[in-house]
């Protein structure tokens, strides 16, 4: 087990006042709160800071922790010395957060004073009562655009922290096969009733929530149910109009381009985006964004054509700049 330097985690000196510790905690909690921060390690950092504060905010726990000595380095191999907490009185209870949120290091020092709890950061459920609803679990599922077109079955592995009779936390792996329905959108949640933590006593089990996230696609961009696609066209197609082939998530279609369209013009293919969801809402649209692409002047023939245009066309693209 590794020693944790709670003062370093909080970024305060060992002789910091309780007020300084509280201020440091508030600042770090805002910075790393998983609802606020997009950093990949935000949740881990938030838990780490919460654990450090749990110890340092409580003068009894802080004194006991300090008594381990100042010579330990973060990450150093650590075993709680026998009888390390002799002479310290803990008021008991008073854990704000939940089991599974704390490190082995914390558990070895303070775990025996726990009253029992649930997994996940700030999972719900009244504590102390005999019957309580189990905690909810959250997981994120990455799917492809194609999966949302047709629906897909995904295997989801969950690490479930469990508290045994002696208050130790172990991890159990659960594998769930979940059908992701056709027409889900980025950021939507799928609720699997009763797949969270078991309830206490006669309490109902919690639910499992899956947040849908799309893998970036090589050619499509997704906005809600609408899909955007950049389509390169030649200058003569844009100028004269044309019929071109365009890929859509449901297969290739023929599209007419009117003459005289500018670069960046958006053309809508109604209903060709993501399909309607389960409640019968409308399917999304596909927006084709024209990208006028110039042929390279790589051959003598091409250079001659460009030179002809230069001589024959009276065209100044910079009139709006006044030059």
């Amino acid at each position: 087990m590794e020693y944790k330097d709670y003062y370093k985690v909080m970024g305060v000196e060992r002789d910091a006042t309780q007020d300084e510790i509280k201020r440091a905690y508030r600042k770090l909690a805002r910075k790393y709160h998983p609802d606020v921060s997009k950093a990949a390690d935000a949740e881990a950092r938030f838990k780490e800071v919460g654990e450090a504060y749990e110890v340092l905010k409580d003068p009894e726990k802080r004194a006991a922790y300090d008594q381990l000595g100042a010579n330990w380095k973060a990450g150093q191999e650590f075993n709680a010395p026998p009888g390390w907490d002799a002479g310290f009185e803990f008021s008991g209870g008073g854990f704000d957060s939940d089991a599974g949120a704390y490190s082995d290091f914390f558990e070895s020092l303070f775990g025996q004073f726990r009253a029992g709890g649930q997994g996940g950061y700030s999972g719900p459920g009244p504590r102390g009562s005999l019957h309580a609803r189990g905690g909810d679990h959250h997981a994120r599922v990455l799917i492809d655009l194609e999966d949302a077109m047709h629906g897909v079955t995904r295997s989801i592995k969950l690490q479930v922290p469990e508290v045994d009779a002696r208050g130790h936390v172990t991890t159990r792996e659960r594998v769930l096969n979940v059908r992701i329905p056709k027409g889900v959108k980025q950021g939507q949640h799928i609720r699997l009733a009763g797949q969270g933590s078991p309830g206490l006593g006669k309490g109902k089990p919690g639910d499992l929530y899956l947040e849908i996230e799309f893998n970036p696609h090589s050619i499509y961009r997704v906005d809600g149910r609408d899909v955007y696609l950049d389509v390169p066209v030649t200058p003569w197609e844009a100028a004269l109009g044309a019929a071109i082939k365009v890929p859509t998530p449901a297969g290739t279609v023929d599209m007419k381009i009117k003459p005289g369209l500018a670069n960046g013009s958006k053309l809508r293919l109604k209903g060709r985006g993501l399909p309607a969801g389960s409640s019968g809402n409308k399917p999304g649209d596909l927006y084709v964004v024209l990208q006028i692409t110039l042929p390279p002047a790589a051959t003598d023939k091409a250079k001659e054509i460009y030179r002809n245009m230069q001589q024959e066309l009276d065209f100044n693209p910079r009139t709006r700049l006044g030059v």
Binding site: R26, V36, S122, R172, E173, V178, L192
Partner: protein, 105 residues
């Protein structure tokens, strides 16, 4: 580590399919009705129905209440602050998505 397998589970899409009463929302989010009523007062939640007993919440509310609860508990933000934070977080999400799209093209 023990592995446990199950058959294929069918979930429901929260945002599209779920409609909840005040009581159900309280139960699922493990909050008091007063907390929900305050969020309605702040305009964070907009249930259908005039009186508390007739309130109907969509699935989106569930996510909002849970986030509100975490911000309130973990950061000590009052509910007016929570309402502001939720609005700003929504805006940040939109802007980030737009930025990603621009970075791609």
């Amino acid at each position: 580590m023990v592995q446990q397998k199950t058959g294929i589970l069918n979930g429901i899409v929260l945002e599209d399919e779920v409609v909840m009463t005040l009581h159900e929302l309280c139960d699922v989010c493990a909050v008091h009705a007063g907390f929900i009523a305050e969020l309605v007062d702040e305009g964070v939640l907009e249930p259908a129905g005039v009186e508390n007993s007739q309130w109907c919440f969509t699935g989106v509310s569930l996510h909002r209440v849970r986030t509100a609860k975490r911000l309130h508990q973990d950061l000590g933000v009052n509910l007016a602050g929570v309402a502001l934070a939720l609005e700003l977080l929504d805006e940040v999400r939109l802007l980030r998505a737009r930025l990603d799209r621009m970075a791609e093209s």
